[in-house]
């Protein structure tokens, strides 16, 4: 098996986690037209949540995902009522700045508590060896967890009452309210789910790589790239686009230094935005 193929498979596995993170961003963006700049901080919180849970219980981290999801939902509700509820429907500048302010606070508290030195979750699952290459069990387990959670979200959105209400509000908030759907309840739930997805993806990342409180920013940029690639309000598309981004990283990493990757991702972000403005502005452009 060639090195590049192995690198691509590794990229695919990590990409599923990127996709999960981006689903959270995409869901919030699509449903309430808020670009959630706490996203990176919430990914970082998820990492530390997993770190603390693992340190306290020593259990298999992939089982600890369940309490992490619960933690994410609670934090999501707190952030919603603190900073988001009051600016939904106001200019986008305001929601950018208010979520951004929360981001600063979370990072500030995190830095005070954990400093910016690296942590890691010391847990290794046996891997699969193919020829000269080994795929670590953690990568495989993380990818499977990401896909399972993504499928669960899809089922929730399409087959439950609440899920359908979320989609209705995303489609047309005013119409949904006329149908008797309380948009406040729906928005807060959607926001909490979005944050829970960010936390969960952070928790998965923490089982793969060392991390600091600032690590979330890297995944935030990736989430933006993925969300734009997938098109807004398409959570499942985000998973696919995340896998594609991981694949791309897998293809390029054997050839260039890792520190160039933000440059490449940013380039991709701009190219996609500029090349497909219809896909992105399409929601507004029909008169």
């Amino acid at each position: 098996m060639s090195g590049i193929l192995a690198s691509m498979i590794d990229g695919l596995l990590v990409g599923a986690v990127y996709g999960l993170a981006a689903m959270g961003l995409s869901l919030i963006w699509g449903v309430m037209d808020v670009i959630n700049l706490t996203h990176g901080a919430m990914i970082a919180l998820g990492m530390f949540c997993m770190y603390l849970l693992f340190a306290a219980t020593g259990m298999n981290p992939y089982l600890l995902l369940l309490p992490t999801i619960g933690f994410g939902l609670v934090i999501g509700l707190v952030v919603y009522w603190m900073a988001v509820h009051w600016v939904v429907g106001r200019s986008m500048l305001m929601s950018l700045l208010s979520t951004f302010a929360v981001n600063m606070m979370v990072i500030g508290i995190g830095t005070a508590v954990w400093s910016t030195s690296p942590y890691n979750v010391n847990f290794v699952l046996p891997g699969i060896t193919m020829g000269a290459y080994t795929f670590t069990g953690n990568h495989i387990a993380a990818a499977i967890s990401a896909v399972v959670i993504a499928l669960a979200l899809q089922l929730f959105l399409y087959h439950t009452r609440t899920g359908k209400a979320i989609r209705a509000v995303a489609d047309n908030r005013d119409a949904a309210e006329l149908m008797g759907i309380s948009s406040t309840a729906v928005l807060s739930i959607a926001f909490a789910i979005g944050i829970a997805l960010a936390c969960t993806s952070g928790a998965l990342v923490s089982t793969l790589f060392p991390f600091t409180i600032l690590s979330g920013a890297v995944y935030q940029l990736k989430s933006f790239v993925v969300t734009i690639l997938a098109g807004l309000g398409k959570p499942f598309g985000a998973l696919v686009a995340g896998v594609l981004l991981g694949l791309l990283e897998g293809v390029v990493t054997p050839f260039i230094a890792v520190s160039w990757i933000p440059l490449i991702e940013f380039g991709l972000f701009v190219v996609v935005l500029v090349a497909f403005p219809q896909g992105i502005f399409g929601k507004r452009a029909t008169a």
Partner: protein, 321 residues
């Protein structure tokens, strides 16, 4: 025209005060305090051109300051250029880069532009960290000899200080001039409703690229001066994300869109920050407090201090720019 604006003369008075206060009695520690305030005012005023005038959030404004620092330090240390010339060239080079970035993200509207600016910050930082002539992630140091043409380190630091105060005054004058110009009116129209502005004849894409580039110039000059004064630069201090964010807090606090608001916010926030950083209990939490402050302003007083003044004393709108 601009000479007839009383506020123009107030700016000159402020600058004169900044120069006189530390010079009188050769008070170096006061000078160091004031220089931080001056940098805060420079960053907040130029950021105001984007956020306050045009309605576009730039999360990566610090890129200009850091790049200016790099170009300036490279020209003075490696090339042995004169400081003023190096700072001006740094300003021009960074503005041109800004215009090119602007063209790259020209078609992005509103929030998408804001996201792209985060990307630009990360991308530029990644680039500089891998750029050999600028010392990659270890950065560059100024040789002591570079102070010689200015008459030794002591004099050089004072000269740099005066230059930074000049840049501060220019930043405020620039804001004032744009606010009262046709160009500024076009920007305000874009801020209020970009589609309407275009239909009224404003070439929004060009205006956005120009203002993005203009807002790069003075911060880049200031960066060149400041990093010359500090004698060293590396990617983490040049592109300090935190400072980029604090610039936004300063502006929102003082009042976006207002010339004096940006300056006032810069001054107050810098005061608050130096108080927090010296306090043993609160120093770890200054980011939390800054974030809390920003949240309060956004939720309760989106116009900042000046907006609040406008609301209670509507006539002040005509006097205070």
């Amino acid at each position: 025209m601009i000479l007839r604006r009383p506020f123009f003369w107030i700016i000159l008075l402020i600058a004169a005060g900044f120069i006189y206060a530390p010079l009188h009695g050769n008070n170096v520690s006061l000078r160091e305090d004031l220089i931080l305030i001056a940098i805060a005012i420079i960053l907040a005023s130029n950021l105001n051109l984007m956020i306050g005038y045009t309605g576009y959030v730039n999360f990566g404004h610090i890129v200009f300051y850091g790049l200016g620092g790099y170009v300036g330090l490279y020209l003075t240390t490696v090339r042995g250029w004169n400081l003023v010339l190096a700072a001006l060239v740094a300003g021009v080079v960074v503005s041109v880069c800004g215009f090119l970035f602007g063209l790259a993200i020209l078609r992005l509207r509103g929030a998408y532009f804001a996201l792209a600016t985060i990307g630009i910050l990360q991308a530029v930082q990644a680039f500089v960290s891998n750029f050999d002539p600028w010392g990659r992630s270890t950065g560059m140091y100024l040789s002591f000899a570079s102070y010689q043409p200015l008459g030794g380190a002591r004099r050089a630091l004072w000269i740099t200080y005066f230059l930074i105060i000049a840049v501060m005054a220019l930043s405020m004058i620039l804001s004032l001039a744009i606010k009262n110009s046709k160009f500024g009116l076009g920007l305000f129209a874009i801020r209020e409703d970009e589609d309407a502005a275009v239909v009224l004849g404003v070439n929004a894409t060009l205006y956005k690229a120009i203002i993005y580039s203009v807002s790069a110039f003075l911060p880049a000059v200031a960066g060149a001066l400041m990093f010359f004064k500090n004698g060293m630069i590396d990617p983490s201090i040049a592109f300090e994300y935190m400072l980029s964010l604090e610039g936004i807090v300063m502006l929102m606090l003082g009042g976006q869109g207002s010339v004096i608001g940006a300056a006032l916010g810069g001054t107050l926030y810098e005061k608050l920050r130096s108080y927090l950083l010296t306090s043993p209990v609160l120093s770890n939490f200054h980011l939390v407090i800054a974030g809390g402050l920003l949240l309060m302003v956004v939720l309760f007083a989106p116009g900042g201090l000046i907006g609040w003044l406008y609301r209670w004393v509507p006539r002040s709108r005509k006097v205070i720019e």
